[in-house]
């Protein structure tokens, strides 16, 4: 490697370290048709291949892990006797190296197979941690492996290991780890798994944080219930925040964003600096925020959504909305330099220096 290239690589490494967890990365690959939004998919134990009692809790825990960490409208898994889908404890798995195997038949069913404890594979003897009272080094955490298989059922593929992204960003590695390597017992989807689930299934709710593996552009708009009021009258300012319509991911484009911090700012027309008026309140409409103000003077208003550090959204600023405030004295109302009578007739132009 040449010296400049080495320096560039070193600089990149530093930047990656500085950026840390909040930096956008590569969402886990995925393919194939998706389940319906929040589709309930139940599984049973496979007849003749029922997992032993020491394994069942880990399998059910993995289903719960998938449900609580998906952060998207991906499938919801749960045990139910008589279900079409099944989980089996069986050596009937293609190849003699795999410890887990999943087949999905979206949108109808899936199967997951876990190789039996002690089975001799090409690479050695399979050890499930849960089989032991004291988990030995080199054992596979059945909860992680089953969660990984549920990830495949959700349509996730394997991460591209050549990208060298942090191991904990995903549980969908092509070579799942054993105890006690980093990530050997992850019990929730990694942030880049969640990113892909959100891309494919949309976020669970408008308030659900977007994965920091993403960097979605946002759009913020602001409107006023009236652009011209008399001093002391109330005007409602309403902001709408959503993922930009030009976002790369079709299902996320235009998605409303609720529960975020949207700040209202104002300035005197022509001024360069803005003053924060306060945080806008959430409304019952997804992505909508509102504030009622009673300005005594004419102001320009704008809403600000600052890039959050805890989720994968970019910041945005609304366009400027001017609310003109007129002051009435003896039946003549002035707004800026224009004054009107109560009857709506233009009265006179205010002279310079007269207070507005």
């Amino acid at each position: 490697m040449t010296r400049p290239r080495r320096a560039t690589m070193a600089l990149l490494s530093v930047l990656v370290l500085v950026a840390g967890q909040a930096s956008a990365a590569t969402p886990t690959p995925a393919s194939g048709p998706t389940w319906a939004a929040n589709q309930q998919v139940h599984y049973r134990w496979k007849a003749g291949a029922v997992p032993p009692d020491w394994l069942k809790p880990a399998i059910n825990a993995a289903a719960a892990d998938s449900n609580h960490s998906r952060a998207a409208r991906a499938a919801v898994f749960g045990y139910e006797a008589g279900a079409t889908s099944w989980v089996g404890y069986t050596a009937d798995i293609p190849t003699n190296y795999a410890v887990g195997y999943a087949v999905r038949h979206v949108p109808n069913s899936f199967t997951i197979r876990l190789r039996p404890q002690g089975h001799v594979l090409d690479w050695g003897k399979l050890k499930w941690c849960q089989f032991y009272d004291k988990w030995p080094a080199g054992c596979y955490d059945a909860e992680l492996i089953t969660l990984h298989e549920f990830g495949h059922v959700q349509t996730l593929g394997h991460v591209d290991e050549s990208l060298g992204e942090p191991w904990l960003d995903s549980i969908m590695h092509a070579g799942p780890r054993t105890k006690a390597k980093i990530g050997w017992n992850q019990h929730e989807f990694g942030r880049c798994d969640v990113a892909r689930l959100q891309i494919r299934y949309r976020a669970l709710k408008a308030t659900t944080p977007y994965s920091t593996c993403l960097a979605l552009p946002t759009t913020l708009s602001l409107s006023a219930s009236s652009s011209s009021i008399t001093a002391g009258a109330a005007v409602s300012l309403s902001a709408t925040l959503h993922v930009s319509s030009n976002a790369n991911y079709a299902k996320l484009a235009g998605e409303p964003l609720s529960g975020r911090s949207v700040v209202l700012q104002r300035r005197v027309p022509g001024a360069s600096s803005w003053t924060t008026h306060g945080q806008m309140s959430a409304t019952s409409i997804d992505g909508r925020y509102a504030t009622t103000v009673k300005p005594s003077s004419t102001y320009d208003w704008r809403a600000i959504f600052s890039k959050p550090s805890s989720e994968g959204l970019k910041g945005s600023t609304s366009s400027i909305v001017r609310v003109s405030v007129s002051k009435c004295v003896d039946g003549v109302c002035c707004s800026g330099s224009v004054c009107m009578t109560d009857a709506g007739e233009e009265s006179l132009e205010r002279s310079e220096g007269e207070p507005q």
Binding site: P29, S31, G32, K46, A47, G48, A49, V50, P52, W54, W86, G88, Y89, T90, A91, D92, I93, P94, T95, N96, Y97, A98, V99, G100, Y101, A102, V103, R104, H105, V106, N108, S109, T111, P116, Q117, G118, H119, V120, L121, D122, W123, G124, K125, F131, Y132, I145, H148, E149, H152, G157, H158, D160, E161, S162, L163, A174, G175, P176, T178, K181
Partner: protein, 199 residues
């Protein structure tokens, strides 16, 4: 409780019984799966009784790519060496046709060794499929746990598909080389392994 199960399993194995769920014949496939082919090739895959299992240390590499069911499997990748020889890979973890298999980094002892000259160019392909991205990494062949894995080369842009790619041989030494491929048309991904010895 677990020890009791262990003892029970041992007794069953000694008596020639097979624990429930590990019968010598495979359980039926889901109704939506195609009819399985003849099971002649599955003899080597019959599950072994749980407690009698012992790690195999056979010096002869065991192929890891024999299918045991009719579920879809990706084709084998191959390397074309400078002398024109085609060296098939051992298949590792994959996602293909709605099926996904997951296993560890494969150790050198289960992989056929191939000697490659230092600085050689290797041509990767996975006929008849095309792929849109690939990445090669390697680890010391003596490091079975693959604690240290180094990047070798990568290519593709996820869009334009290719039927082959050229990658460099690793530096001198015995290595396990793993190449991950992402198939065109979102057909899935697969990890392929070779035991590469570079003098």
């Amino acid at each position: 409780m677990k020890r009791r199960s262990l003892l029970l399993g041992l007794l069953m194995a000694v008596a020639g019984c097979v624990p429930v769920g590990q019968g010598p014949t495979s359980p039926p496939l889901p109704s939506s799966a195609p009819t399985p082919p003849a099971r002649a090739s599955q003899g080597a895959m019959s599950p072994e009784p749980m407690v009698t299992a012992r790690p195999r240390r056979s010096p002869a590499p065991t192929p890891t790519t024999q299918p045991t069911s009719s579920e879809p499997m990706p084709p084998l990748a191959q390397l074309r060496l400078p002398d024109g020889t085609l060296q098939p890979a051992a298949l590792g973890s994959y996602v293909y046709g709605g099926a996904a298999a997951d296993g560890p980094w494969l150790p050198a002892r289960v992989l056929p060794a191939v000697e490659v000259d230092a600085g050689a160019s290797l041509v990767l392909s996975v006929p008849p499929l095309r792929f849109v991205r690939w990445g090669a990494r390697y680890a010391d062949a003596r490091d079975e746990a693959a604690d240290i894995i180094s990047p070798l080369a990568a290519g593709g842009d996820n869009v334009a598909s290719m039927e082959s790619a050229v990658l460099p041989a690793p530096p001198s030494g015995p290595w396990v080389m793993m190449v991950q491929l992402y198939f065109a048309d979102e057909a899935g991904d697969a990890a392929y392994y070779w035991h590469v010895v570079v003098p």
